[in-house]
């Protein structure tokens, strides 16, 4: 086991990883930006070092300062959390070159799966169903040809993309040239990689993802699926649940089998998530995230597994602590993301100081947060303040428990998504578990059934 781990992240996930490290007897080193000097993750780590000013490019993405901190403090491993450098193959490689264990998959796997077009090709070769689409499109002409073959409507996507950047829905042939040009420019500006590929736009699909864990000995386990279809128009998830409601056992089985098969085909190690689109009876692979996900706690609640501890153990060369037949889902879990956002301003992220915080507590409730009275919410980072997670024996019980948990949650000083989450839980579509990725945009536009 590692003796000292550098946590290359901030916010709630840095606090979460710190807890797992301490639980395994490892010391921790936090990094922080000047904007985060009083943050909870800084206070809870054994040591903490400033790596730069507030903007992420000069702090949480400064590879030289982060690796230098790990070496100077004699860390033996680096946990990247999610976001920032978590899916940066070059960072994983640099860690390895300097004798630091990167807690995640091998750099070559991160690189292959991080490139969405490559990942789809690998999955296709492994016999995993993918949405009808194209390889990299070198020109608008190639995009026109691909769209004609696939059939409108289509989705142009950035191969290096995420968070909806470099993505365009194209419904008619006459719109494709303009969409190709603007998506290329946006992808280039956002990821320094303007390459696009195309997918068939599925109407009203559900976003269902499968959690996997692989060790260095060839074992790949799945820990069931999560439904993450409650997404904003920007594709940002707001509520997640496990297991996914209203899936047939055949669909569920197909998802799990595909995920394990895909991971085995690329020699996947550590924690990962395969995202699928479920449309009618069809299940299509969408992309893979080679890291821990924000919504991992819902899986932990139903499987009773500490995924972050498993990540660390596996990276330290241990065998997975479970066999597949031991992993049985129990009950139902739901997570609500409480973000600092202003509903009066189109849910734009909000910075400020949190003046008062009260979180729910009781059986089947968990809160992952870095908030405290007086905590600063800097403008530079994502607006996640807390994840409220509940577990119930049934989905109905979990919904009722979440409604109670949201009523017991108070965050003052910034606007939050608490009321929006409560509004979603109260809708018939959510209660019946019959929602898809169009649900929240329709609700926000006042068009969803209440």
């Amino acid at each position: 086991m590692f003796s000292k781990i550098l946590i290359a992240n901030r916010g709630e996930i840095a606090v979460r990883v710190n807890r797992a490290c301490h639980g395994l007897g490892a010391q921790t080193v936090a990094i922080y930006s000047q904007a985060d000097k009083d943050a909870m993750h800084v206070r809870e780590a054994d040591e903490a070092y400033c790596v730069g000013p507030g903007p992420v490019g000069r702090s949480y993405l400064d590879v030289a300062n982060i690796v230098s901190t790990a070496l100077a403090t004699k860390c033996d491993a680096v946990h990247p959390g999610y976001g920032f450098l978590a899916e940066n193959a070059r960072f994983a490689e640099i860690c390895s070159d300097h004798g630091l264990v990167f807690i995640g998959p091998k750099p070559s796997v991160i690189a292959a799966m991080g490139d969405k077009a490559t990942a789809k090709r690998i999955m296709k070769e492994a016999g995993v169903a993918t949405t009808p689409g194209s390889d990299i499109l070198e020109s608008a002409q190639k995009a026109r040809d691909a769209a004609k073959r696939i059939g409108y409507p289509v989705l142009l996507k950035a191969t290096a993309g995420g968070g909806g950047k470099g993505m365009r829905v194209v419904e008619r042939p006459e719109d494709i040239d303009r969409a190709f040009a603007s998506a290329t420019a946006e992808a280039e500006a956002s990821f320094k990689d303007g390459r696009l590929y195309m997918e068939k736009l599925l109407l009203q699909p559900r976003h269902v993802e499968v959690q996997v864990l692989g060790d260095e000995f060839g074992t790949v386990l799945h820990l069931g699926e999560r439904d993450c279809s409650v997404q904003k128009p920007s594709h940002q998830k707001l509520i997640e649940e496990a297991p996914a409601p209203n899936l047939t056992s055949k669909q569920r089985h197909a998802l799990h089998e595909m995920a394990v098969k895909a991971c085995k085909s690329v020699g996947y190690t550590n924690a990962g998530t395969l995202e699928f689109l479920v449309a009618g009876d069809h299940v299509y692979f969408m992309e893979m995230n080679t890291r821990i996900q924000v919504e991992h706690p819902v899986t932990e609640m139903v499987y009773g597994v500490d995924l972050v501890k498993e990540q660390i153990r596996i990276a330290a060369g241990e065998r997975a602590a479970y066999v597949q037949r031991d992993l049985q889902a129990r009950g139902h879990a739901i997570e609500c993301r409480i973000n600092a956002e202003n509903s009066q301003n189109n849910f734009a992220p909000e910075a400020g100081t949190v003046s008062h915080v009260e979180f729910p507590d009781g059986p089947g409730m968990r809160v992952d947060s870095h908030m405290y009275a007086g905590a600063l919410v800097p403008p530079y980072y994502d607006s996640l303040l807390a994840k409220i997670v509940v577990h119930g024996e049934t989905r109905d019980e979990a919904i009722a428990r979440m409604e109670l948990a949201l009523r017991e949650t108070t965050i003052e000083g910034v606007h939050t998504t608490i009321a929006q989450c409560a509004e979603i839980l109260a809708t018939r579509e959510f209660r019946e578990g019959r929602y898809d990725i169009t649900f929240l945009p329709r609700l926000m536009a006042g068009a969803a059934s209440r």
């Binding site: 070092y49 400033c50 790596v51 030289a64 300062n65 230098s68 070496l71 100077a72 403090t73 300097h98």
Partner: protein, 134 residues
Amino acid sequence: MSDEKNDIAAHVRALAAFLVANDLQQICIEREAETFEVARAPVQKESPVRAQPTPAPRARVEQIASDRVGIFHFSRTTPYVGDVLDGDRELGYVEQLGIRNPIRSRGAGRIVAVLQADGDLVDYGRPLFEVERS
């Protein structure tokens, strides 16, 4: 080792012995196209006494801080409190992943505080020196 390299090594050894025998910090010999410079490395035990950072910088006193995370070392000519800086001078460097990132005085003045010891781990924004500007 080639003869030429042997010659250079012998030169350096002779200069180092001269340095020690005469209790000098640095010696520089220039002849024809060659320049030899030999200096004693600052010894940690002899490094200046660490002072506490001044709570609020006084007027005309500027803090020089690290902008990299790494191990701080003094330059070959160890800076001391009271040293008068005639112009821009390298006071030390932060070693990061094998690269030396120089710390410069950024102009003339007088060193009024040396805040880190040789070999200290410093992070971003860590004050290293205080310089009174004239």
